[in-house]
């Protein structure tokens, strides 16, 4: 028994479950139970394999005699893949449990066989990407993952917006895949000097020496290819379209872990395959990461659709992860292994944290959607009274993502700030001055994220119902609650026990950067986190977790010794009379100050039309319309789309539908080829 056996068992089990689906297609309820239980079980197996691999620091590689002749598949499980296996396994487990209840709710509208099949294939695809050790198998798995998620986004395909979103997603995923393919091509060719095909294994690339120019080309091709999948700005446009329209359990997986496979790709190529790089690669990644983080969260604040807001917030978090990766790259290029280990730990910790809280938030949004049929926050409100459990879990997700101690989001942001604070040690005056400015942008991002999630939680769960017809709203069912509880508890545990997690991740940073963090980070035991040294900075999440509730309960008890009445009365609101629910702050009004301050970054159209039949001083109706759009569409995507349509029309003239003309084309082609060759 070894971790690798566990991991391959998990993948095989998922592939086997695909065979089951047609057998149970007639009995949908049973299909849901069997299939998602299998998915949960195989995720659990993969999770065990991942934790084991990282904990032991083992490296196992195998050759699978499948694929083309002379080109077998290579598989490998090392601490880096083990870590990502853990992340995917963990969220896969929780979301699969949640899915049982959630997908049963869809059953009343439509059959779910395709959802179930592609869901399992999707998870299997992600596991395969992680264990692949050659370009060939990697790209096959990558496509399995992309195609299955395309069908998941398309699940409710009768709506035009879903088809459009899925198409955009597929298009950008494939542009990215081409870039990745080219990057592997460059590295594989150079690994063997363009002599043989053997360079396609990652092992060959690992041992190759790349000339700087070619290494740069390979890195940036891979980086932009993976960044398109990760949703880095300016390649993010598919993400806010695709994530909201997919079923919520799928959005949780896509946002929580599928984006992370792209981060895996970037780290694999940079730290494992290319290995040696100049500092300015890191600087470019840092700049892009910062832009992604700040713009992502600003877009998120402007949204009214809850799931779109969460999707944009994923863009922001990818930015934060990229910031950590880029700092690790900068430190690595200046031969500072320990600092690099800190930055990489921060980044990977955020990968794990984001998977948890974003998964939780999407599950919560799914429960709300399930209960109310509503995604628009402007028509929600007051759900905390009707859905107490869901609201509590969603709140935990919001607290975690807003980086409030002692929850997990804070740990990784704090570590990222610590990595930023180490930048004055870099021997380059330019970076010394510029990197701190990056830290302030990260602080801006963190603060805006808190604002964004006050809005998300406040508009959805607090206040009073803003919609027209408060229908029958029900709480999430048992399995959905179980999935969310487990995720919420994991968020808390990752937040209060960072020293243990960092100790576990030690083999990982050793493999990638050569630096170790655990001995200094856990110098004073599990209670204190001291990343570089205790004199530099320390943070004790367990103590904060204990002391705040202790003070809170002491004060509570002290004030409740003498019983005092609580009078429940109608709203006071400074004595204003006849308050209606329509007078509440809405999401649009909540984000108005920020929209005004940062409005120049967006294309905003605001129309106010007043209907006043008698006199304009006595309006009867006011129509307000607000459109906030991505400037990138007008600057970049629309011109590109127009140009390609124009080109397609030109090329289309060749097609006339007459067979004689086509025969002439073939004839001319043959003549030209004969003349040339």
């Amino acid at each position: 028994m070894s971790p690798f056996v566990l991991a391959s068992f998990s993948i095989l089990l998922l592939l086997f479950s695909l065979v089951l689906a047609p057998i149970f297609a007639r009995r949908q309820r049973l299909l849901i139970y069997v299939s998602f239980t299998l998915a949960a079980f195989s995720s659990l197996t993969a999770l065990a394999a991942g934790i084991w691999t990282v904990g032991k620091g083992s490296v196992e590689s195998y050759i699978l005699l499948l694929g083309l002749p002379e080109l077998p598949f290579h598989l490998r499980l090392d601490p880096l893949s083990g870590f990502f296996l853990t992340v995917i396994g963990l969220l896969g487990l929780f979301v699969s449990i949640y899915s049982i209840g959630y997908v049963k709710g869809i059953l009343s509208h439509r059959p779910v066989t395709s959802l179930v099949i592609f869901y399992n294939l999707f998870i299997a695809g992600m596991f395969m990407v992680i264990v692949a050790d050659d370009a060939f198998f990697f790209l096959i798995s990558w496509e399995v993952m992309a195609a299955s998620s395309y069908f998941l986004v398309m699940f409710e395909d009768e709506r035009a917006e879903n088809r459009r979103a899925a198409f955009t997603y597929l298009l950008i995923a494939h542009v990215g895949a081409i870039a990745i393919l080219l990057s592997f091509g460059v590295m594989a060719g150079l690994a063997t000097g363009f002599e043989s095909f053997n360079g396609y294994t990652f092992d060959a690339m690992r041992h190759a020496e790349f000339p700087v120019r070619w290494a740069t080309a390979a890195f940036f091709l891979a980086f932009f290819g993976f960044a398109a999948k990760a949703g880095m700005i300016p390649l993010h446009v598919w993400l806010p379209e695709a994530h909201p329209v997919a079923p919520s359990n799928v959005s949780a997986l896509m946002s929580g872990v599928m984006l992370k496979t792209a981060i895996y790709g970037i780290i694999r190529v940079t730290f494992d395959l290319v290995r040696i790089f100049p500092w300015w690669w890191g600087a470019i990644v840092l700049a892009l990461g910062l832009i992604t983080a700040v713009m992502g969260i600003l877009y998120a604040i402007m949204q009214q659709d809850l799931k779109r807001l969460l999707a944009y917030s994923s863009v922001e978090n990818i930015g934060i992860i990229l910031i950590g990766v880029s700092l690790a790259m900068v430190f690595s290029s200046f031969q500072m292994p320990v600092f690099s280990a800190l930055a990489l730990t921060a980044s990977l910790y955020h990968v794990l944290n984001h998977a948890m809280f974003k998964g939780l938030l999407f599950m919560g949004a799914g429960a709300v959607l399930h209960a109310t049929g509503e995604r628009n926050m402007e028509r929600m409100g007051g759900l905390i009274h009707k859905m107490p459990w869901t609201s509590a879990f969603f709140l935990i997700g919001c607290i975690s993502i807003s980086a409030l101690p002692p929850f997990n989001g804070f740990v990784s942001e704090w570590l990222t700030f610590q990595a930023f604070l180490l930048s004055p040690a870099v021997p380059s005056p330019l970076l010394k001055l510029l990197i701190p400015l990056g830290a302030s942008l990260l602080a801006l991002t963190a603060a805006l994220a808190a604002t964004c999630f006050v809005k998300a939680f406040g508009m959805t769960f607090l206040g009073q119902w803003r919609g027209h017809h408060p229908q029958h709203i029900h709480e999430a069912d048992g399995t959905m609650k179980t999935g969310m509880i487990l995720t919420a508890v994991t968020c808390l545990c990752l937040g209060i026990l960072p020293t243990i997690v960092i100790g576990w991740m030690d083999t990982l940073t050793e493999q990638l950067t050569g630096g170790r963090l655990a001995s200094t980070a856990g110098e004073f035991g599990w209670l204190w986190l001291t990343p570089i040294s205790h004199a530099r900075a320390s943070y004790s999440a367990p103590l904060i977790f204990l002391i705040i509730p202790a003070v809170v309960s002491l004060v509570y008890l002290f004030l409740h010794i003498r019983k005092k009445a609580i009078h429940r009365v109608p709203l006071w609101d400074c004595g204003f009379q006849k308050i209606t629910t329509r007078m509440q702050y809405t999401g649009t009004s909540f984000s108005m100050p920020l929209r005004r301050i940062f409005g120049f970054l967006f294309r905003i159209r605001e129309d106010v039309r007043i209907e006043a039949p008698r006199h304009k001083a006595f309006p009867q109706k006011i129509h307000y319309r607000l459109r906030v759009r991505d400037r990138l569409w007008e600057w970049f995507y629309n011109p590109v789309a127009d140009a390609s349509f124009w080109l397609a029309r030109r090329v289309g003239r060749l097609q006339q539908g007459r067979i004689q003309v086509y025969l002439i084309y073939s004839f001319v082609t043959i003549i030209i080829l004969l003349v040339l060759l």
Partner: protein, 315 residues
């Protein structure tokens, strides 16, 4: 001895925080009255206000959820824990390693996050308005705060508050232009974070310009008392944080019992001066429009960045 002494100082510091914070606010209000030619209600008026509120019943909106009732306790708790972290009397206290300055800022963010949620909870226009404005200002103040922290931490190579005090107070005295810029930025941020003029008017009630007050409009009785008390503690703590980062001379070294009386006297002296400074700013300036605040906080950011630049260029 080794454990008892720091623990005793920690408790003493905590008590000072609880009881001196309202007195400090009383001192500021008293000075303000004098400056404006009014008769003041005395140093202890904030104390009396809080006590009065504790004796009153709670009047709660019908649709208030548990968040609304839980927030005052959490705000009080988080602020009190922040008080254990900042070296007000002495460095090296038991709780001082719990959080560094970044985590400390995050502790204040907890209270703000929940206060903003409580403002939205009951679903009034005022509550939402307060939450929205408060979070907007916080978003803009945060980058400036981090730049100031960055500059200060460059000097001591640390974000741990005790370490920062140690390096500046007990090390060799050096005149540092970077710290002067950082101090300027810190003062502007403090005005924004604690809701003083020109950002927010602490004396306002029932005005369309109110920010903090708008969020807590529906609170009454012990809930209001806790929130008000925590607000006073926050002002006190920001002052203490400023003292610890920029004027730490006089804060006792770890285990130095004999020095404590001197520390206390010096602390009193510094607080009196800080109060005078605050009142001078508040009387001299008018409240700004909400959208002018970007310039205000932008200049705080600029000062902090200048501090950073001057560190690299001059020191």
């Amino acid at each position: 001895m080794n454990i008892i002494y720091p623990a005793a100082v920690e408790v003493l510091q905590f008590l000072i925080l609880l009881f001196a914070a309202p007195v400090f606010v009383g001192w500021v209000r008293m000075l303000k009255c004098w400056f404006q030619g009014r008769t003041s209600a005395g140093l202890l008026q904030p104390h009396r206000d809080i006590m009065k509120l504790f004796y009153k019943d709670v009047v709660l909106a019908e649709n208030a959820s548990w968040i609304f009732r839980f927030t005052p306790y959490l705000v009080f708790g988080a602020t009190a824990v922040a008080g254990g972290v900042i070296p007000i009397l002495s460095v090296g206290l038991p709780l001082s390693a719990t959080a560094d300055i970044i985590a400390l800022v995050a502790l204040f963010t907890i209270s703000r996050f929940f206060t903003a949620l409580a403002g939205l909870d009951i679903g009034t226009a005022f509550g939402g308005m307060g939450s929205s404005r408060e979070k907007t200002i916080a978003s803009l103040a945060e980058p400036a705060m981090l730049m100031a922290i960055f500059t200060v931490s460059l000097v001591s190579q640390s974000t741990s508050l005790s370490q920062m005090v140690n390096v500046i107070a007990h090390g060799e005295f050096v005149l540092r232009p970077s710290l002067a810029f950082a101090l300027l930025a810190f003062v502007l941020i403090t005005l924004a974070e604690t809701g003083r003029i020109p950002v927010d008017n602490p004396a306002t009630h029932l005005e369309l310009t109110m920010i903090h007050e708008a969020m807590i409009l529906e609170y009454s009785g012990r809930h209001l008392a806790l929130i008000e008390w925590a607000g006073m503690m926050k002002l006190f703590l920001f002052t203490a944080l400023g003292i610890a980062s920029f004027f730490p001379w006089g804060i006792a070294a770890a285990g130095d019992i004999a020095f404590l009386p001197v520390t206390t006297v010096l602390l009193l002296f510094k607080l009196i001066l800080a109060g005078i400074g605050l009142v001078l700013i508040e009387t001299g300036l008018a409240k700004m429009r909400l959208f002018r605040l970007t310039e205000f906080l932008g200049s705080a950011f600029l000062f902090a960045t200048l501090g950073l630049l001057s560190y690299f260029i001059l020191e």
